[in-house]
């Protein structure tokens, strides 16, 4: 029973990582109907931006929570700019072509960032500075670190924050309108180019926050780190119903739990395969995802 509870916590910690990235995937898809395959790589860039900022601030020797917040903000700002650039340079020129064109462009951007990252940062894994010293809390039979707790809390904050932005604010209304019908939204006086750029900036900033947070808990970063994590976050988004914000959260948690349970059996090395088996099953039997329905409003 103790082991079961601990595995449950392990699964939630891992799932929160996927959820954090899946939220960005789902938001961009909700507005643009574009699966932004580069999202996982922006997450990687966020981790590297955090790495350089934290080292410039010498955070490894002087850990502080305030410093960690500054580093996270810095990485988010850097990635927001990168997100806007990617949208402007890669996606906007092909926006009016077929959706397949955008998808292929997204794969191209993803590969560019991965292998460009290997040129710029080198292929050698780096270790992220310990901006917050790891602490383990014991709650009855289970242990959880402060860093994993932080990821879980932040992923919930991000989920509610996104729900609020999309459903309660003026810009959220504009995002939903753009998603519903781009040309009509423009006729109604919405600056759709700005809305789309804003969506990318927000999504990329979230990816960066995820990158820094995950690097705190699992300190090893390398230019290909976004590949597998990004794919699993994508599966999580599809599982929950792509375009659906609480769905991304649910999907992430489920993938995390499933992986952990497989990891706990003798088949531990098949854990990566499970996520993709789930993707196939979902696409076969419930293509709209767990929380998605074909008529639900998307964003």
């Amino acid at each position: 029973m103790d082991t079961f509870l601990q595995q449950f916590i392990n699964g939630l910690s891992l799932g929160a990582i996927y959820a954090l990235i899946a939220l960005g995937y789902t938001m961009v898809y909700g507005v643009l109907r574009l699966i932004n395959f580069a999202h996982g790589d922006v997450y990687m860039l966020g981790a590297f931006a955090g790495y350089y900022i934290a080292n410039a601030m010498n955070m490894d020797a002087n850990p502080s929570i305030l410093g960690a917040i500054v580093v996270t903000m810095g990485a988010m700002a850097a990635c927001a700019v990168i997100g806007i650039l990617i949208e402007r340079l890669a996606y906007r020129p092909v926006r009016h072509h077929s959706r397949l064109t955008s998808l292929i462009t997204a794969i191209g951007v993803s590969l560019l960032l991965e292998y460009g990252g290997q040129v710029v940062f080198g292929a050698t894994p780096r270790f992220f500075p310990q901006m917050i010293r790891s602490q383990t809390y014991t709650l009855g039979p289970v242990q959880i670190t402060n860093q994993n707790l932080l990821i879980i809390v932040v992923s919930f904050i991000v989920m509610f924050g996104l729900q609020y932005i999309v459903h309660q604010t003026k810009i959220g209304k504009a995002m939903r309108a753009t998603s519903f019908n781009l040309s009509v939204a423009r006729l109604m006086g919405i600056n759709t180019d700005f809305i789309i750029a804003f969506t990318f900036a927000l999504g990329s900033a979230l990816a960066a926050a995820g990158g820094v947070m995950v690097a705190l808990a699992i300190p090893r970063i390398d230019p290909l780190m976004g590949l597998m994590t990004g794919l699993k976050a994508f599966v999580a988004a599809v599982l929950g119903g792509i375009g659906n914000i609480p769905g991304a959260m649910l999907g992430g948690m489920l993938i995390g739990l499933m992986e952990t349970w497989i990891g706990a059996t003798a088949y531990s090395t098949y854990r990566d395969a499970v996520a993709f088996a789930v993707l196939i099953l979902i696409l076969l039997f419930r293509p709209a995802g767990l929380l998605g329905t074909s008529v639900t409003e998307k964003v």
Binding site: Q7, N10, L14, T136, Q143, R220, T260, I262, A264, S268
Partner: protein, 390 residues
Amino acid sequence: MKLPRRFVVAALLAAVLGAVACERRPSSGGAERSTGDIVVGMYGSLTGDGASFGQSSVEGAQLAVEELNNAGGLLGGRKIKLLVEDDQSKPDEASNAVTKLITQNKVVAVLGEVASRRSLAAGPVCQKYQTPMISPASTNERVTQIGDYIFRVCFIDPFQGEVLAKFAFNDLKARKVAVLKDIQQDYSVGLTDAIQKKFAALGGQVLDPVSYSSGDADFKAILTQVRAQKPDAIFVTGYYPEAAIIVRQARELGMKVPILGGDGWVGDALKNGREALANCYISNHYSGDNPDPVVQNFVKTYHAKYKREPDSIAALGYDAAKVLAAAITSANSTEGPKIREALAKADVPGVTGRLKMNAKRDVDKPAVIQELMFTNGDVKYIYKTTINPN
């Protein structure tokens, strides 16, 4: 696009001739030259997961080459030129690198690799071209079984596994142990087998080994399963990047038992295990604390050149280059088969112990057990004991 037919025929002909020319290339790599620099190749993981291995072994070898050249070179004043190729920690790149060194750069011999998996990938190339290869630190038994041109200057995993099992059983008094192995690495799989056999033979209980893969970052699921079985000690038989994270996550789950590893833990990134590295032990090839003047002299000159302490991989890189130089001298030739013969009879002192080739082209050397300690942002290896082969 239309090309003139004559052009196509000429190109095809050239390609065929090229292939034929390659086929009848003499086996030993350009060894016939008797003047000029002696070109030695080295391949290693300068980047990628195993970057620390490649960098340390190359630094060690370069130091040895520099010393030999300053002392007048080999074979009557010929300098040694070390050509280094990066294999990016990938086995297929390792065999490409070695093919290039032998066929294009015409090296007389090859030094490398550290990781057994990459030595196993590139070794057959050296064997095929009859170019001697000396691995500084590949401990998997099968490496030198590739063929009679493959040598090494380190102990092998059956011995290392025995050393670790004995230490856990006799010194740490462990009776029930768990093993975590990296199923992608021949080294880890071989070492796991050796530990299992010896520990069981001593009368201890080994739990079913738990598998992970190079590059994994979350080990909490498997560690929680291990924790439930309450082992007295845990072996992690993989390499340092994963070991650092495994140790940390084990401590985060409240597991305080000793964690043991092999020489694969020796790498710069191990320091990311931080305070969790307390109560961890490894088997290693040499200890920098050894008062032997040969060792102390090496530590001093290495530090003067690279401004850091040499790790055991650097010491083995240095020894590999020295053994090769001694073999070239005693063969009085740079031809592959002659160097091979001299290497098979090699018996020279090294910083990691006496380097005497046995019939299997391995060396019988003692191992040391070291305790790890994290101080001032780095890992300290504290000498515990030396275990000799019997």
